[in-house]
């Protein structure tokens, strides 16, 4: 390359938005464009001729020479030709995330490697921020749910307690009068024991529910989550005279979900379905929850279907927009939060009319078998 064309080339490289760094077979930096200077905080003349590993934190810094040697020896590509997210080390010592794509070129006898780097700190920060907001939303939404559930759970414990106390009081009363029939006494004691178990079962389930407080992605059987949420809402459903039927497909593959967030989606969808059937006759106060595996699309689908009046055609396209609500007192947050949560799971939430009623479908990717 003539000196003139080398200058032209450097000028071209310097206009690039991404950092462009070339190294030789020994890992020594041959060129370092302006964007690379901005990204790493070094001037080109500070790094040219030095080992590129000074731009990497440990353990990459220590192992990089071995990577190159291994590639030159075996021809096995680990990063060449492929992009990957790695960590970079700035001159000021700060470690930051970057996208790196590496290409290989031969110029005569010489083999050069070109690295194109892009600082993704901002993108990462935005992603983290979005994730944090989602957590907050799910948390607020969950608190809302929890206050609604408290009444139902109090009822679940109250029923067995009422039975226990009444049996005990009745036995005492009869005992004091010398009228306690041994058979009745034994029956009451059995009931007391059984109802004590029942109350402790409610508390055990509640404790399991609260224990899952830490939010994280984990493989989960969707049907179990559906059953838990339905159990928690049973009292509320009964109070509104709504029957809920489950049509859950057995042996669904597991899906990677943040269970707390998916529970939140279910709570919201079931609450919406309850609202939808509030004004219809008793025979249509019905909700059906169905799950199924779609092997063709590698997805697990969940439908929440109500038998209410359905969704007005004009409202359908706007249903998931924040602050859009068809309810008199609706804040228009529920479905918007649901869709955000489902999309964060790389899934989709959609709605259509099922005549009669409306159907909301959550589609989640299933890992390949």
């Amino acid at each position: 390359m003539t000196q003139g064309s080398a200058i032209k080339l450097q000028a071209l490289l310097d206009t690039a938005v991404d950092g462009i760094i070339t190294i030789d077979e020994a890992g020594l930096i041959q060129s370092f464009n302006k964007a690379a200077e901005r990204i790493f905080g070094y001037r080109a003349d500070e790094v040219i001729g030095r080992n590129v590993n000074l731009l990497m934190p440990q353990p990459y810094q220590r192992d990089h020479d071995a990577y190159i040697a291994n590639y030159l020896h075996s021809g096995q590509k680990k990063i060449i030709g492929i992009g990957r997210e790695v960590q970079g080390l700035r001159k000021d010592g700060r470690i930051f995330p970057l996208d790196l794509a590496v290409g290989e070129a031969r110029i005569g006898e010489q083999r050069l490697f070109t690295g194109i780097v892009r600082d993704i700190s901002d993108r990462k920060r935005l992603e983290q921020e979005a994730h944090r907001r989602l957590q907050e939303l799910a948390h607020v939404s969950r608190l809302n749910t929890a206050s609604g559930l408290a009444a139902g759970l109090a009822h679940e414990v109250n029923q067995p307690l009422t039975a226990i106390i009444s049996h005990a009081q009745a036995c005492l009363r009869l005992l004091q009068r010398g009228e306690l029939d041994p058979e009745l006494f034994s029956e009451s004691l059995q009931q007391i024991a059984r109802q004590g178990e029942r109350a402790s079962g409610v508390i055990r389930r509640l404790r399991d529910f609260v224990k899952k407080g830490e939010s994280q992605l984990a493989p989960d059987f969707l049907n179990a989550t559906v059953r838990d949420v339905v159990w928690l809402m049973a009292h509320e459903l009964k109070g509104h005279g709504v029957t809920l039927e489950l049509a859950l497909q057995d042996d669904l593959p597991r899906v990677m979900v943040d269970r707390i967030q998916i529970e939140q989606v279910l709570f919201n969808l079931i609450r919406n379905a309850m609202d939808a059937v509030a004004e219809v006759g008793a025979e249509r106060k019905r909700i059906v929850i169905a799950t199924r595996h779609d092997a063709a699309t590698h997805t697990v689908n969940l439908d929440v279907r109500d038998y209410g009046p359905g969704i007005a055609e004009a409202a359908l396209p706007r249903l998931f927009e924040p602050f859009f609500s068809t309810k008199r007192e609706g804040l228009g947050q529920g479905l918007s939060i649901c869709r955000t949560i489902v999309q964060a799971h790389r899934g989709e939430l959609s709605a259509d009319n099922a005549a009669p009623g409306a159907r909301f479908t959550v589609t989640l990717p299933a890992p390949p078998a």
Binding site: A151, Q159, L161, A163, I165, A170, C171, Q191
Partner: protein, 132 residues
């Protein structure tokens, strides 16, 4: 049954019958036992429909609110159309349910929160029987 007949000598010989409507099996069994310990008879029903179909209103009624099918408030609204509605006490676990004011509006004599003290229940039933 008129107000007089509850106090008449003929009804004193047979213990009054307390009807219980509650969808929870355990609560029904416990109330039967408690009413037995008070010295009265009881008949219990798992739903409002069962109670209506049986056609035996009892001398008074202990009624749960939150039940599948016809709830407690709806049962009372239905019963109030009859010439002499049975005196009814609501037994509920929740003070905040909207069904409670509805039931009181429909003629319930009062309510007791579950779980309750046996003596309180006894006194309230005695009051209902005196009204019957």
């Amino acid at each position: 049954m008129t107000a007089m007949s509850a106090l008449s000598p003929s009804s004193r010989t047979v213990a009054p019958c307390i009807a219980v409507v509650d969808d929870d099996d355990a609560v029904r069994a416990a109330l039967n036992m408690l009413i037995h310990s008070f010295g009265w008879r009881s008949r219990s029903y798992a739903s409002a429909r069962d109670y209506l179909e049986a056609g035996e209103p009892g001398n008074c009624l202990l009624l749960d609110l939150n039940m599948p099918g016809m709830n407690g408030a709806e049962l009372l609204e239905y019963l109030r159309q009859r010439p002499s509605p049975v005196p009814t006490l609501i037994l509920t676990g929740e003070r905040d349910t909207p069904l409670l004011p509805r039931a009181l509006q429909a003629g319930a004599r009062g309510y007791l929160l579950k779980p309750f003290q046996d003596e309180v229940l006894k006194t309230r039933i005695e009051a209902l029987l005196a009204d019957a």
